[in-house]
């Protein structure tokens, strides 16, 4: 690969997570197939890891462990969590100023709506909104029973987003690849990795309207992707009920 196409100059900002979304995706896609840039990335990652040591050491209160143990008592590890919050709202309530209560109510309504949407999507597999938008739940395979995901497609099929959760993180030689199938032919719609908790949202790129494809699946492929699916299916589903 020519030097000019590498993403070396973007790697410091990439490891800090401060690239804009479009550039971040470009770098991610390049890294999936470039050993040189991945090696360079590793050296910058080591630096950002050490930045955590530069913060002043603070001691949490002794009773925090007891609170943690009480909270996890009722939680089972490796249990699928269809709806993923970025942080605990329950714990935030006591810090809310009065002016923030309205915002909290809005957030709670959105969470309830999202849970409801997820449940309906899971039941129906394909949920069509009045405006024509579709949300499709994907099925996990026996390999990764905890993985979950869904696809949201715009009314005209020109835009689509995949969101996955609880996916295993892969080694540096592998990548997830999304496949769209039509008349028995599969084309690649995205290459992606997941964050440390197995979560990722990624835009689906297809040459034609997503409404023309009959099914979707996600497999594990060698870095850089494959021309056609070769790995085990992790998630999959029919794009339409018919």
């Amino acid at each position: 690969m020519p030097e000019s196409t590498h993403v070396l100059e973007s790697l410091p900002a990439y490891v800090l997570g401060c690239l804009d979304e479009a550039e971040d995706q470009l770098v991610s896609q390049h890294l999936a197939g470039c050993h040189l840039c991945r090696t360079e990335l590793g050296s910058f990652q080591a630096v950002t890891d050490q930045l955590a040591l530069a913060v002043p050491e603070a001691e949490p209160p002794a009773e925090l462990k007891q609170r943690l143990m009480e909270r996890v008592q009722g939680l089972q590890p490796v249990r699928p969590q269809p709806v993923r919050g970025r942080f605990s709202l329950a714990g935030m309530q006591r810090f809310l100023p009065l002016g923030g209560l309205a915002s909290l109510l809005v957030i709670l309504v959105l969470i309830v709506a999202t849970v409801s949407l997820w449940q309906r999507v899971n039941q129906l597999e394909v949920l069509t909104a009045p405006q024509g938008m579709r949300a499709i739940a994907l099925h996990s395979s026996d390999l990764t029973p905890d993985a979950s995901g869904f696809v949201v497609i715009s009314a005209d099929g020109q835009n689509g987003v995949l969101i996955v959760d609880q996916m295993p993180t892969l080694d540096t030689e592998s990548t997830y690849q999304l496949w769209l199938t039509r008349n028995g032919q599969s084309i690649s719609g995205a290459l992606f990795s997941v964050d440390e908790t197995g979560y990722r949202g990624v835009r689906i790129v297809a040459p034609e309207s997503l409404l023309l494809y009959s099914s979707i699946r996600i497999t594990i492929e060698p870095v850089g992707g494959s021309p056609s699916p070769t790995g085990e299916q992790i998630l999959g589903g029919s794009l339409f009920n018919s």
Partner: protein, 176 residues
């Protein structure tokens, strides 16, 4: 982590004891409020409890994994609370780069202490404007565009500062 994925509470407790200071310190440095840092710490360890099976030792050290989760959780809260500027997170310049952290277990902390000293020394050698840009990215989760807006500098200047800062740090830390 394997034992935690098997719901072994004892292993989970040991993990907490070992990394509680690291997680709490990073959370506190980002959110700037002890009570909220406690909530972040609880959230981080609850996520670890529920998602221990997603940890891959070949990809990252446990501490790296925990710090990554902590930063995400804490920065999310900072973004959510950005209308409340009274709760500011720290920056490199608010941190005394020559501060000596309190040691709780000298034998276990010697290596950590040396690591801290190395990174403190390296950060202290960066120009203030590079530390500032780095701090906004690391502690606030700002994008380069947001950093440029916050500092009223051209985007290209900020990109150069971020890139140069990390390159210098890498060089200094590798030389040590």
């Amino acid at each position: 982590m394997r034992l935690i994925a098997q719901a072994q509470m004892d292993a989970f407790g040991e993990l907490y004891d070992r990394y509680k200071r690291l997680v709490f310190s990073v959370a506190y440095a980002i959110v700037g409020d002890r009570a909220i840092a406690e909530e972040v710490t609880l959230d981080v360890f609850m996520r670890v409890w529920q998602r221990a099976q997603t940890y891959r030792p070949e990809r990252a050290k446990v501490s790296t994994w925990l710090v990554a989760i902590t930063r995400h959780q804490a920065i999310d809260i900072v973004r959510w609370r950005k209308s409340h500027p009274e709760a500011d997170s720290l920056g490199w310049d608010e941190i005394s780069l020559h501060e000596r952290p309190a040691h709780h277990d000298p034998r276990e902390q010697v290596e950590l202490s040396q690591e801290r000293e190395r990174i403190h020394k390296a950060l202290a050698q960066l120009p203030a404007n590079q530390r500032e840009a780095l701090a906004l990215a690391y502690f606030r989760g700002y994008s380069q565009v947001q950093i440029a807006e916050a500092l009223q500098e051209p985007l290209g200047t900020i990109k150069t500062r971020i890139r140069t800062a990390l390159q210098k740090l890498r060089q200094m830390l590798q030389e040590d």
